[in-house]
Amino acid sequence: MRYILKKVLSMVLTLFVVSLCVFLAFSLIPGDPVTRMFGTEATPELIAQYREKLGFNDPLLVRYFRWFFAFLQGDMGTSYDYKMPVAGMLAEKIPITLTLAVMSFVIMVIISIPLGIYTAKYENGIIDHVISVINQIMMAVPPFFSGILLTFFFGVILKIFTPGGFVSYTKDLEGFLKYLILPAFAIALPKAAMATKLLRGSVIEEAGKDYTRTAYSRGNTTNAVLYLHVLKNAMIPVITFMGMALADMVAGSIVIEQVFGIPGVSRILLSSINNRDYPVVEAIIMGIAIMVLVINLLVDIIYRIIDPRIEVEE
């Protein structure tokens, strides 16, 4: 309990530092947001009036705390371009991006765990060599290109996938999930390749330890030993990687959404970066930051469950 509490506390601290960095970075950029809001209609009086009204004349720290606490309450500010609350703009998009990331994660786990154990079991066999070459290639194919390749293969050759045929989850949940399968694969493949490689090494290392021999001598079959005894310990380094991979997948879906024309967070983020619509960029970055920190916390907790020996660092 003390361990988890300490981790939560450190997460809150990091969140605080990250939010301060994000806020300062976007506040110190040259260019006045109010002038930016009015564009060509700006007059000095109007600007002065709105600067006062929106609180831009307050000290930086006051503005930071106002922004931070508003953010915690779900008020993410107002977009310069669309003149509407950022929270409302993102509300429909976030589930799409998250579904995509979670799906990719599930695909990665489903592929890499059996494959990692299999290649470790038949170390240096033909299939092990073939898979290690495929892995090396998979890691070199950027997700946006594998996305294009998948579209070509399933859309043009097999004709079982309609590119651009995205349907919203509010209309047709099944169609929505079906459409996301290919993009999820495109994101998951390179990560699955890395996870397989990592797990293979880890299983081989664990398989040489004493407890494995004990498990064998008690009459377990090879698969029982690998899946019930070795896997749990071999997963420890892999879980760190998978936690990072999940965070990467959220960022990776930004690119893949562009490839497959999925109207997730990506389109808003890119157009706000290009148009310097900072409140939107800030909100999205903070959203992803919070997600990354929560994932890290979960990884730490899972660690503790798998290996209770991990103690609180003093």
Binding site: T14, V17, V18, V22, A25, F26, I29, Q136, I137, M139, A140, V141, P142, F144, F145, I148, L149, T151, F152, V156, P163, M244, A247, D248, V250, A251, G252, I254, V255, Q258, V259, L269, L270, S272, I273, N274, R276, Y278, V281, I285, I288, A289, V292, L293, N296
Partner: protein, 278 residues
């Protein structure tokens, strides 16, 4: 030179050939050749449009076909690879350069400065590098130089961490003590005595870093952030080509293949170098 070639022969002791190194040298050599030749000569002018030759397939005249504006894709790939390689190189120079200095100083001196810097670096490392570079791009604006700087900054933490580890390992070794007894200054110990001993580790991280930089640059320019037209880099070309996937697949495939080869070549090279050491 003879020693260099002997690296590719079968190892007499184990009877194994360093296939990774061989493939890495061949592929990387091919890519670099394309970039270097592209500096002086391209088969066609990469920006010259030709309405009568739109979206042609692969032929002897255009070995990668032509794009939607009738430009020769191979010439454009030669030009685009140059930009991709240049940005990746610049990224590594910034990332490895500043990262090494930060890592060296924090690792050697330790203390409160080390503590604070490492906290910041850990926080940065927790974030996906694509996101980190997007943050910096949105701060600096879009464009070739901005992207190179943004990517460079987002590569600093990993280099700093690696170099710091090496310095922590080395700083209490005997040769450092001896240098200190001889009255060498801290700066001299850091840069003249310890730094050369970290080159091996640094080199393999540079290899991996270069790959990641190519992928990150391609990703950013695919999103339309990065080198702006007409100086298209490979990622931007790929996203332009994606629209013609159905009528001219060879256009997309050839560009994608070049990106894959570039990354694959360097990862083989890195793997091969690692195996020489063992």
């Amino acid at each position: 030179m003879k020693k260099f070639f002997s690296l590719f022969k079968k190892n007499k002791a184990t009877g194994e050939r360093n296939t990774f190194l061989l493939l890495g040298v061949i592929i990387t050599g091919f890519i670099l050749l394309m970039v270097i030749v592209g500096l002086f000569y391209t088969p066609y002018n990469p920006t010259k449009m030709d309405a009568s030759a739109k979206l042609q397939g692969i032929s002897f005249k255009h070995i990668m076909g032509t794009d939607n504006m009738g430009r020769d894709v191979f010439s454009r790939v030669m030009y685009g690879s140059r930009i991709t390689v240049a940005i990746a190189t610049f990224t590594i120079l910034i990332g490895a350069g500043i990262g090494t200095i930060i890592g060296a100083l924090t690792g050697y001196f330790g203390g409160i400065g080390d503590e604070i810097t490492m906290r910041i670096i850990d926080a940065m490392l927790a974030f996906p590098s694509l996101l980190l570079s997007l943050v910096f791009v949105s701060l600096f604006g879009t464009g070739t130089y901005q992207v190179a700087i943004a990517l460079g900054i987002s590569f600093i933490p990993s280099f700093a961490r690696i170099v710091r580890g090496e310095f922590l390992r080395c700083k209490n070794m005997d040769y450092v003590e001896v240098a200190r007894l001889q009255g060498a200054s801290n700066i001299r110990i850091i840069f003249v005595h310890i730094l050369p001993n970290t080159v091996g580790v640094l080199l393999s991280s540079v290899m991996i870093g270069f790959n990641n930089a190519v992928l990150a640059e391609a990703g950013l320019s695919f999103l339309g952030i990065g080198a702006q037209p007409p100086h298209a880099s490979l990622g931007k070309m790929l996203s332009d080509a994606q629209g013609y996937l159905f009528n001219r697949p060879s256009y997309v495939m050839s560009i994608g293949l070049v990106i894959v080869l570039m990354v694959l070549g360097f990862s083989f090279l890195g793997e091969g170098i690692k195996r020489i050491k063992n």
